[in-house]
């Protein structure tokens, strides 16, 4: 597909602008928004994983929050120094992070006798069970998880550079605390995981996954090992969730069991549906929307109609946000089956049609 000249120039310019914005942001934004951005980026990594599983392969998973918890808690367990009543292994933090992702993958693998055989609603509710089991373990296995109060997360450090508030670091007159430092780390991790997922989707595995989603029997007939693929994608998506869990733990600086409940699992499903099923970009857009919406409403609650301060009887910002994106999920499924990303593509195509630069060529499916 040949692109119009204007967009051939516009695209690199757009990317440069985006890259510049990402680099500059920590110098200007206040801590509140940096934190929100970190959450959004961590959620995006998790949502990419879920989109590989639910969007691209058609396997409904309601247990994503469980694997996030596995990642977060494994990191804390491995990286913490052993305490008086809490276990810890005191491993170097990068090693702990890698092992945490592996542990989430292993948890997904342990579930593969179910993940490889069940589908549709059965798989959805079976994974739902993981959330309850996970919560039970998190609250009860106190030496490992710290129980109700959770555990403090040891700060990440790479090659002697610590992603914490100390030692002090000032760049161009802006003090760089843990949030600023983690921002860049999160950007790199998000780009890498998005790039990897795009590779998976564009290659043979992606084709096989889509075929499984569209017609399982046909996939089997064409030689796709269906059960193996289903189990494999489940493991991969769990690893993404584990990575997201580690990132969230680092941003929160404390892991609490309550966070990894049903609400979180539903949030992730909402993200991929809103953004667009089956694509990396969709997952990122959806994650940004679902995580930033409550923050925006909280910040500007006094300026918005219908949104009240908590405790005054109206809609609190968090409730307003949930109702809003619940409605968006319904609206998207009804009117925009391809999600917000699909809408953007449609608008772009419509615009290109309105102002043709070329003798019109039938546009194929764009990436």
């Amino acid at each position: 597909m040949s692109e119009p000249r204007a967009s051939r120039l516009a695209r690199p310019a757009l990317w440069t602008a985006a890259a510049l914005a990402v680099v500059v942001v920590p110098f200007y934004l206040e801590a509140f928004w940096l934190m929100a951005g970190l959450f959004a980026m961590s959620a995006a990594v998790g949502a990419i994983g879920l989109n590989l599983l639910t969007g691209a392969t058609g396997q409904l998973s309601m247990g994503h929050a469980f694997f996030l918890a596995v990642g977060a808690y494994t990191y804390v367990l491995l990286a913490s120094e052993p305490g008086s009543h809490l276990l810890g292994f005191g491993l170097p933090t990068p090693l702990a992070a890698v092992l945490a992702v592996a542990a989430a993958g292993a948890a997904g693998g342990l579930f593969s006798p179910i993940a490889g055989r069940l589908k549709g609603a059965y798989l959805g509710i079976a994974t739902f069970a993981l959330i309850f089991l996970g919560q039970h373990v998190l609250f009860n296995a106190e030496p490992v998880t710290g129980g109700y109060n959770g555990r403090a997360v040891p700060p990440f450090s790479l090659f002697g550079f610590s992603f914490a508030d100390t030692p002090e670091l000032v760049v161009l007159g802006v003090p760089f605390g843990s949030l600023e430092r983690l921002w860049y780390l999160a950007v790199v991790v998000l780009l890498a995981s998005g790039w990897f997922a795009k590779g998976v989707l564009a290659g043979r595995p992606g084709l096989a996954m889509n075929t499984i989603r569209d017609h399982e029997t046909a996939a089997g007939v064409m030689g796709v090992p269906v059960a193996k693929y289903r189990a494999g994608v489940f493991v991969l998506s769990s690893m993404y969730a584990g990575l997201a869990g580690v990132m969230l733990a680092l941003a929160f600086q404390r892991t609490v069991p309550e966070y990894f409940g049903i609400m979180l699992a539903l949030d992730y499903l909402a993200m991929i549906v809103i953004g667009g099923l089956g694509s990396v970009g969709g997952a990122v857009v959806g994650a940004a929307l679902v995580t930033l919406l409550p923050q925006v409403l909280t910040r500007y609650s006094d300026a918005l109609p219908l949104v009240a301060q908590p405790g005054t009887g109206g809609f609190s910002p968090a409730e307003a946000a949930r109702i809003l994106y619940g409605s968006v999920v319904v609206a998207v499924v009804l009117f925009l089956p391809a999600g917000l990303l699909g809408l953007a593509q449609r608008v772009r195509r419509r615009l290109a049609g309105a102002f043709p630069h070329h003798p019109s060529t039938p546009s194929g499916s764009s990436s």
């Binding site: 409904l60 059965y122 959805g124 069970a129 039970h136 409605s327 999920v329 319904v330």
Partner: protein, 296 residues
Amino acid sequence: MTHFAELLLNGVSMGAVYALIALGFVIIFKASEVVNFAHASLLLVGGFLVAELHGRIGFLPALLAGAAGAALAGAFVEFAVIRRSRAADHSVLAIVTIGVDIILATELTRRIGTRVMAMGDPWGDAVLHLGPVSIAETRVVALIVAGALIGTFLLAFKHTGWGVAMRAAAEDHETAALMGVRLGRVSLSAWAVAGALAAVAALFLTVFPTPGLDRTTGLVALKAFPAAILGGLDSTTGALVGGLIIGVTEALMSGYQGEFAFLGRGIGDVAPFLVMIIVLLFRPAGLFGTRELTRV
């Protein structure tokens, strides 16, 4: 032994209530091929209406109003959302019910707030003594009412025109439509019936010995999901058996918590999900579900 008998009776009674919820879940699946994740919220709608209204109009009218309200809510969801969805993919349809669930649950928990709402039922905390075994009256009533409702439903399912249409639609959508079964109506009525059953279940989930309806009631109702799944999503018998298994397991595990102390506190709440996973390991389509066979 008395302790065991009491637990068993309580478990069977709770199981009957779970079976009511699971039955609704199953008939929705049979009639419109949608897994309704908003079921717990429908239940909460019914329970909330009963709790709000009983002070003003009396208990029985409030119960009827609750059942009617939940039935309307179910029918509305079907009419406004499920029917209009163009998504062919079933997991997408399931996700749309999650969207509905998020909206309903958020609004209802906001309205309930931190209150624990009484249901105004006439049984109160009375206890029935059958020899050495004592059991709360509410549990006996729950068992009788749930049994009667399930019986009525199964009879209607078997013998009325509506039941035949429902079974035909479940068997083969297209053929049923060609034979003149109005699928829209079948699906609408299934959602309404499921809503009404859930409202009755909401009553019995929140009466004595439970303190009342609060914001966690929806979570309790979620235990009916494993009941429906382990019985088999497309089997009404499965829903009943599944409900009973879940109810009894939960009661026994909670009752003998001391012996299960090594599994941690509150194991009774998790037990339904554990049982479901174990069953699914051996029978991926549930105990009574039809196995999907594909011939190539």
